[in-house]
Point group: C2
Chain length 236, copies 2
């Protein structure tokens, strides 16, 4: 039975820019599981109504539909216990949830404010009105105001990176000597940015930058080959 | 050979308020290891010079002196592998380092600004000048200015708690179904506050508050019995 992943796509069908979908793509690759991806746009909510909710990623595996990146990751870990571990034990799985909540609640919002104008420039034409209205309602201000104050938001984003940088200065991956799902959680944010924004988020010698480069290269350059902007230290 | 831990003490010898020392006290209890604690004040740097540095916690175990809470925790895990695991595997140990960096770089600074006046009120007389000078130099402002703007700093502290609260809403401990060293890292901050401040940091029904109450009770109320202020849901 074919495994299918619905992924957010931009103006071009192959610009797959959702940070949450990238977590799942990396997790599937880590498990060595093939997948057929389907491009999806924000306004195509009816296309994933079968999942009982209206957001991607949605994975269809063995006839089951699973939504939400965390739920998909834990499903994959439990459904494919003989494939390489995404977490590496019960304690690591639970600690990864803290990383997940930090990424969702702290890292992503700070990054979103920094690059929201770039997202708007890359969403599909059919999504532009939806994207503007929903994001401007959420933040109570315009996309243009974020563009105009990018320096300020970038400063907040940089401040938020401190515990990540301290950790990646002490060990190659959040998972230690090798990457695990916690790395994919955080990497998703940087890959999201790379897909839609030329704005340089990291200095080339930043430990986070070196970690990102290794993840871009992993799984035969799965993330590095994806449509996006080049980042320092990696081929475009 | 007696195991000894040098711990920061306040005006009273039994007011042990260092968040980093509490991480170690909880780790030792988790491992089932007895320890003799020695009160130490900021100005007593010569007393721990044997450790090659000037901060507590300093643990002396089997004739070795180990400083820094993270170094002590990983030492204990490796030196006592048959005692209950502090981390629960290599991946969990590395993910706990992210929690450690988040606590040190985000949680502790936000909390410190909220309660710094209360610390000043509880440090030993011999430490008062040192504490004021060192902290005012670090922050570039006075202890009184933090007191006067407590609402603002408390607001920042509350914002910082979001990923912790989200995690403890989904699972009883950072370590999952049972507490591990990641819990002690974060708990140290709340126990530090309890030791020196009557200021209520958490609502009684906050998932963080319920988690704190369970940790205060653990190991025969080791932390709950320590000199400090009562918190909601626990006996004083």
């Amino acid at each position: 039975m074919t495994r299918v992943l619905y992924e957010l796509a931009g103006a071009e069908e192959d610009r797959r820019f959702s940070p949450y979908c990238w977590r799942v793509r990396m997790a599937l690759a880590h498990k060595g599981l093939d997948v057929d991806t389907r491009p999806w746009r924000f306004v195509e909510k009816p296309n994933i109504a079968f999942s009982g909710q209206d957001k991607v990623p949605v994975l269809i595996d063995e006839g089951r539909a699973i939504a939400d990146s965390w739920a998909i990751a834990t499903y994959l870990e439990d459904a494919y216990p003989d494939a390489p571990a995404l977490f590496g034990g019960d304690k690591a799985r639970h600690l990864a949830r803290f990383v997940n909540n930090w990424a969702d609640g702290v890292l992503q919002p700070a990054l979103l404010k920094t690059v929201i104008g770039d997202i708007f420039d890359h969403v599909h034409e059919s999504d532009r009105e939806y994207f503007r209205q929903s994001r401007e309602a959420r933040f109570g201000t315009t996309i243009e105001s974020f563009r105009n104050e990018r320096d300020r938001w970038f400063g907040e984003f940089r401040a938020v990176l401190a515990p990540l940088r301290a950790t990646l200065s002490a060990q190659p991956y959040l998972g230690g000597d090798s990457q695990n799902y916690a790395d994919y959680i955080v990497f998703g944010a940087f890959q999201f940015a790379r897909c839609i924004s030329p704005f340089p988020l990291l200095a080339a010698d930043d430990p986070i930058s070196l970690w990102r480069a290794r993840l871009l290269e992993s799984f035969d350059h799965l993330a590095g080959r994806a449509k996006g902007y080049s980042v320092p230290g990696t081929p475009s």
